[in-house]
């Protein structure tokens, strides 16, 4: 079975390379047989990667601990759920997951009926990617390597077990969604390069890849969200985002991907920003590779530590190759990309999109710069200098707020040229409301400038979006005579792309509210107390009633503290912060946070340590508004699904927007 899995990798490498050749011959000689053969090769590569995947899963599930990977990440008493998740717990398996997704994405592209001319090229580019991953898995990180010192026939009784920190539902969902996102950006990249290769100047590649891009973006959003949630509930430091290099590695392509999603609209509508769009998707794709390089090479210290080894070099080489190939194509075909129109006014939707793009890419660059600064400073000054959260916060706060302000302004500003008059008309009430909100909050005791600005902007953006939807509903109600609720629902459903975008924006604003509250007004305390005593934090008092031990499963014991939470003297909840001890890792307990979560704030308690005398140390936090970060995140995902839902209303693009707006202006 191990041999079969391994052989599939080697075969997969050759089949992928063959597929590229077949496609190229098929296209240049206009030979349908070769084109069909290329398609077949894509499918074969996917089947082969699946064989390897199934083989590794089989070993994980059946517990053959002579396979090093199985030995490292599982043990006899590991629940099936985590045996499955162990698939991507390590280097080899996570790369295999990448390959698995990539090869099946390639099949979808290769067999797509929509794009006859572009398909062979796009498929070839994707196959080239697959070939790299087949190569890496076959020759650098063989997932089927046996444990050191193994001789044929020897049985290894049990494995080392999965790190307790990884035994969290987050382990199942966070890597999977992040990879679905990461890999997904390869498809729009492949089509963009195809458009350049085939000298296709139109925006067909954008139309074809719109769904891919949004899907990849949404998965990456969800991956980051689940990663943050996992960090929050698991690591016991009261936070959800630490500007760790690996977090940044998935945040940076998310930012450039967001920029791309917006700027392609300008190309669709106005035939502008062509060079920019191709560049953006190339950057996004290269950043997904670069992020993987950062994680796998060990050049930066991170919580997601994979060991070093030769893998990093190959990843870097591949990344650089793809980067230069993309740059070459863009420079070589720049004439093709000359734009048909230019900007007509500062006050226009296209220039507001340009602004949004500059800020998103600027923020991406700032995060990128901060992340790789240790490498730059070492190269230039000979000493590794690390910048941490203070740098990232100081840059991302103003740029982030600018983005949220634009989020309120952009959707309502007219294409081509807006007049000052309709700007005032559109925004006066939201702007007045935003200032009012800031003033009220100021008198309620919120004095931090960033927090005030953030809440004011949040109000402004929510208000403009809701007013826009209200106006649309009213127009529809008047034109069609439908009742208000029916008009409202039909308005949303008939142009899902647009209103899905609004829903996503609303979700993001809620996330902003959560981030602002938890960053600006969090409290924390660390205190050692005995049973019967209590510790106080903010308006809360936590009484420590008991410290005891309980058996969770045959291999898991928990030490837990029974605590009563009261607010201003009144009982609110009972919480139970725990430390869970796994039989496979007796020295590494897993903290389970005692959490009392409300719309206003989270009370978050970690049981840190205890001694024989009953001195028990707790770390407690009050994190305001955190729940809105999660709620906003799920609204964002809902908005994406809403926008992508197929059928009538899903394709309505900017033209529809214009006619609707005309109707609106006519009223």
């Amino acid at each position: 079975m191990a041999e079969v899995g391994y052989l599939a990798l080697v075969l997969g490498l050759f089949i992928s390379l063959y597929g590229i050749i077949a496609f190229v011959i098929g296209v240049t000689k206009k030979n349908p047989a070769f084109l069909a053969s290329g398609k077949g090769a894509s499918l074969a590569a996917a089947v082969l990667s699946s064989v390897t995947t199934v083989a590794l899963l089989y070993f994980l599930m059946s517990g053959d601990y002579s396979i090093n990977y199985v030995y490292e990440y599982t043990s006899k008493d590991l629940p099936v759920f985590y045996r499955f998740a162990a698939f991507w717990a390590g280097n080899a398996g996570s790369l295999l997951l990448w390959l698995f997704l990539l090869t099946w994405y390639t099949v979808i592209v290769a067999f797509s009926k929509k794009t006859k001319q572009l398909t062979p090229y796009a498929s070839s580019i994707l196959l080239f990617n697959s070939a790299f991953f087949f190569f890496v898995l076959a020759f650098l990180v063989n997932p089927f390597e046996r444990v050191p010192g193994w001789t044929p026939g020897a049985v290894v009784p049990d494995g080392a077990g999965m790190n307790p920190m990884l035994q969290n539902p987050g382990m199942v969902f966070h890597p999977l969604t992040t990879y679905l996102g990461y890999v997904g950006f390869a498809v729009p990249f492949a089509y963009a390069m195809t458009a350049l290769l085939t000298k296709t100047a139109d925006d067909e590649w954008i139309k074809v890849t719109r769904r891919w891009t949004i899907m990849a973006w949404a998965f990456l959003s969800l991956g980051n969200l689940w990663g943050a949630q996992w960090a929050y509930t698991e690591l016991g430091w009261g936070g959800y985002w630490g500007w760790d290099p690996v977090e940044n590695a998935s945040f940076i392509p998310w930012l450039t991907g967001s920029a791309f999603l917006h700027s392609v609209m300008v190309q669709e509508r106005k035939d502008m920003l062509k060079v920019w769009n191709v560049t953006l998707i190339a950057i996004t794709y290269v950043l997904t590779l670069f992020g993987t390089f950062l994680v796998r090479s060990g050049v930066l210290t991170s919580v997601h530590a994979f060991s070093g080894g030769p893998l990093g070099r190959y990843f870097l080489a591949f990344t650089v190759f793809m980067l230069f190939a993309a740059i070459f194509l863009i420079v070589d075909r720049r004439k093709l990309l000359s734009q048909a129109r230019s900007f007509e006014s500062f006050l226009s939707k296209e220039s507001s999109f340009l602004l949004n793009n500059l800020v998103l890419v600027g923020l991406a660059f700032a995060v990128f710069w901060g992340t790789i600064y240790p490498l730059i400073s070492e190269a230039v000054r000979g000493v590794k200098v690390t910048v941490g959260a203070p740098f990232f916060n100081s840059v991302s706060a103003p740029l982030g707020l600018a983005l949220f302000l634009l989020m309120g302004v952009c959707p309502l500003i007219a294409w081509r040229k807006a007049t000052l008059k309709n700007l005032v008309q559109n925004f006066q009430w939201s702007a007045v409301g935003a200032v009012a909100v800031a003033v009220v909050l100021f008198f309620m005791g919120i004095r931090k400038p960033y927090a005030l600005a953030s809440y004011g902007i949040a109000f402004f953006t929510i208000a403009t979006i809701l007013m826009e939807i209200f106006r649309g509903t009213r127009v529809r109600h008047r034109l069609t005579g439908e009742s208000y609720p029916v008009s409202f629902i039909r308005l949303l459903v008939r142009n899902r792309r647009r209103h899905g975008g609004y829903i996503i924006h609303l979700g993001l604003v809620l996330m902003l509210i959560g981030i602002t509250g938890s960053q600006a007004y969090n409290l924390d305390t660390t205190k050692t107390i005995k049973v019967g005593e209590s510790l106080s934090i903010g308006q809360y008092s936590l009484s420590f009633n008991n410290l005891a031990e309980k058996k969770l499963t045959s291999d898991k014991d928990a030490v837990y503290a029974d605590m009563t939470v009261s607010k201003n003297g009144a009982y609110v909840a009972q919480i139970e912060p725990q430390k869970v001890f796994y039989a496979t890792a007796p020295d590494q307990p897993e903290s389970v946070v005692g959490l009392y979560s409300t719309a206003k704030e989270d009370v978050y308690v970690v049981l840190a340590s205890w001694d024989q005398n009953g001195n028990t140390t707790f770390k407690a936090f009050v994190n305001p508004l955190v729940i809105w970060l999660w709620i906003g995140g799920y609204i964002l995902v809902f908005g994406t699904i809403f926008a992508l839902w197929p059928g009538r209303g899903s394709q309505a693009g900017s033209k529809y927007v214009r006619s609707e707006r005309l109707a609106q202006e006519a009223v």
């Binding site: 210290t301 007509e344 590794k384 050692t528 020295d587």
Partner: protein
């Protein structure tokens, strides 16, 4: 048309300059952490006013935890892998991370105390044994040899 493009270009440049300014001012206001080895630290190369980052091996087994102090205190030694005898004492006023006992390597960020000990405000631990095993087989093996070995076809 041309005039408008100049205006837009100027606008773009202004924004780019603003972002560049934010990055540069962020770099100078945020405390950057300078990398130091334990050996350099013990030789007194760290000055009291600067913020440092030390990556080294950690002696987690002999760490001292004092939860009764305010603030709480975790005291442990760091050493360079090349020179395990020379140890730097680190004081960290926070609780033990869950993976502390298993840790073999640590990254600390902080400042030096007047007595030469290091006062860390950040502690990051690495447990290579759990995340990814160090390759214990000979590193000189090429991939093919490794593969043959893994199949038991070569010893």
């Amino acid at each position: 048309m041309k005039g408008k493009n100049v205006k837009i270009t100027a606008g773009v440049l202004v924004i780019v300059a603003a972002i560049a300014y934010l990055i540069i001012s962020g770099m100078s206001s945020a405390t950057p952490a300078y990398a130091l080895t334990v050996q350099q630290a013990l030789a007194g190369q760290g000055t009291a006013d600067k913020y440092y980052r030390i990556e080294a091996n950690i002696d987690a087994a002999h760490a001292q935890w004092n939860g009764d102090k305010t603030p709480v205190e975790l005291k442990f030694d760091l050493y360079d892998p090349s020179n395990p005898e020379k140890k730097l004492t680190v004081i960290y006023n926070d609780v033990k991370p869950d993976n502390f006992s298993e840790a073999t390597q640590a990254v600390v960020q902080g400042k030096f105390n007047p007595d030469g000990t290091f006062h860390a405000d950040q502690l990051l631990l690495k447990c290579p044994s759990k995340y990814e095993a160090e390759n214990t087989t000979s590193n000189n093996d090429g991939p093919v040899t490794k593969f043959l070995k893994s199949l038991g076809l070569k010893s």
